[in-house]
């Protein structure tokens, strides 16, 4: 009669392989969410202002969006340190452009400049998924979305950050009119409609994402310049 000894064994691992479970990372995810909606003659950018670290709040008010000119706004996400540095670098490059060409950099050029700047750090990336939104040379609203390495896409709407998985499907339905039988998918939102969608996207995200909340900054960019609004969000 054979009997088996049931001893607990360590999980099977290939011999000579190092499995390190402790590794320091230079990147910190400070949370928060951003979105952009492009209209016919305007573009809306909205970001919450909570900066977190794990289960702690660093601050309830840290701007994630910056006006780069009177025609463009840049919104960052994920790593706030890299976001701030990226903004600084981009601002300096825009200044250099102005001195070289004797005119302010346009939205399209700035969009490409951002893509190139991100890719220049391909081997130690800016841990940022930026959104660049502005008015192009024809006066139309344009929003560009990027990944951390600089892949650029011109979009009608986009959401990035900790609650992107919650907000993006909502925008797909309410801005892109997806999964709606008979809806006119070429229709663009008005300023007021975009505002309502953005606000409701954020109050909804705040309910279910622990990293989104505190305050909401909304920028509307059009031919008249940049208009900023700040609203309250839940603080729990």
């Amino acid at each position: 009669m054979e009997y088996q000894m049931h001893t607990q064994q360590a999980p099977m691992q290939a011999p000579n392989q190092v499995h390190s479970h402790n590794h320091w990372s230079p990147y910190v995810d400070t949370g928060g969410t951003s979105l952009a909606i492009a209209g016919d003659d305007f573009v809306l950018v909205a970001s919450d202002t909570r900066q977190s670290d794990g289960f702690n709040i660093n601050t309830r008010y840290d701007s994630k969006a910056v006006e780069l000119s009177n025609k463009t706004v840049l919104a960052t996400s994920i790593c706030s340190a890299d976001g701030k540095r990226l903004t600084e670098v981009l601002e300096q490059k825009a200044q250099l452009y102005f001195h070289k060409h004797e005119k302010h950099i346009g939205t399209k050029a700035l969009a490409q400049l951002l893509s190139n700047t991100l890719y220049s750090r391909r081997m130690f990336p800016y841990y940022v998924f930026p959104i660049l939104a502005g008015i192009d040379s024809d006066g139309k609203g344009a929003a560009y979305s990027y990944d951390a390495l600089g892949n650029m896409q011109l979009v009608t709407y986009i959401a990035f950050g900790s609650a992107s998985a919650l907000v993006q499907p909502f925008l797909d339905n309410q801005v892109g009119f997806k999964n709606q039988r008979g809806a006119d998918s070429s229709r663009r939102l008005t300023r007021e409609q975009a505002m309502m969608v953005a606000i409701d996207a954020f109050t909804g995200a705040t309910e279910r994402d622990i990293y989104t909340g505190d305050h909401l900054e909304i920028y509307i960019v059009d031919a008249n310049g940049v208009h900023k609004e700040v609203r309250e969000l839940k603080r729990d």
Binding site: Q8, Q9, P11, M12, Q13, S52, G54, F55, N56, I57, S162, Q174, N179, Q180, R181, G182, M195, M196, V197, I199, D200, T203, E207, R208, D209, I210, Y211, K234, R235, D236
Partner: protein, 260 residues
């Protein structure tokens, strides 16, 4: 069958892990829970947010569990573990009370809980605050997942425990009145709700005195959702369909074919 946990799947899970399949995380309650002894008894408090990773799974869950008519228990850690463990010992307490012909004592519940949790060597993630009033007076205990216990006049547990304890350490003193005690518990839980991302929504309170329990669900509700900017009601016919098929309830009940 052998008692205790079965570890047969450890090897299999590690293999799946290496191939890229991640085990789903259990719902944890994030949580701020507190307990405090005052002049006439014990006050328990808890927030009402349950998280699954960084998503809020339940905005208004109950974390103060019934143990006995004179005893309640707050639970932090893995939600399923706190629910099942408190329910199990509550059931055992009821039988014990019938067997002895006496009202249950807090130390009895504490001993049952700690011996159960120690047997599972910390694998049952239940961190509890047990409070009650029995023949020997009011008592307050904390019980940790590995089975250790503390007997203290004021306690906090959960991810928001540091925020809550900072309130107690600045304000607690012996001989508090009932209103002072309840306010302090509310302040401590709210400190967790606003400063800890794992805690949120409302404050539940439970006041246990000699011969009486007051369970106040939603004692404080500082996080009501604002009205939405517009209604998102969809008109009938919005959902896309490929081919419609209508059946009456009678046909549905007798239908054998469910494919088309």
């Amino acid at each position: 069958p052998n008692s205790g946990f079965k570890f047969d799947n450890v090897k299999r899970n590690q293999l799946l892990n290496d191939k890229g399949f991640m085990v789903p995380t259990a719902t944890k309650t994030g949580t701020t829970i507190v307990g405090l002894l005052y002049k006439d008894g014990v006050v328990l408090g808890a927030d009402t947010r349950a998280t699954s990773g960084t998503i809020v799974a339940d905005k208004n869950c109950r974390k103060i569990h019934y143990m006995a008519p004179n005893m309640y228990c707050c639970g932090a850690g893995t939600a399923a573990d706190t629910d099942f463990t408190t329910e199990m010992i509550s059931s055992q307490l009821a039988l014990h009370s019938l067997n002895t012909g006496r009202e249950a004592r807090v130390v009895t519940a504490m001993t049952m809980l700690k011996q159960y949790l120690f047997r599972y060597q910390g694998h049952i993630g239940a961190a509890l605050i047990l409070g009650g009033y029995d023949v020997t007076g009011p008592h307050l205990f904390t019980i940790y997942p590995h089975g250790s216990t503390d007997k203290l006049p004021y306690v906090t547990m959960g991810s928001g425990s540091l925020a809550a304890m900072s309130v107690f350490e600045s304000q607690w003193r012996p001989g508090l009145s009932r209103d002072e005690a309840v306010e302090m518990v509310k302040d401590a839980i709210e400190s967790g709700i606003f400063n800890d991302l794992g805690s949120g929504s409302n404050v539940d309170v439970c006041v246990i005195t000699k011969g009486d329990v007051e369970y106040i669900r939603g004692y404080s509700q500082p996080n009501q959702r604002v009205a939405k900017e517009q209604s998102y009601r969809f008109p009938a016919g919005t959902t896309e369909f490929i081919a419609p098929k209508t059946r009456t309830p009678a046909e549905e009940a007798t239908a054998m074919d469910v494919s088309a």
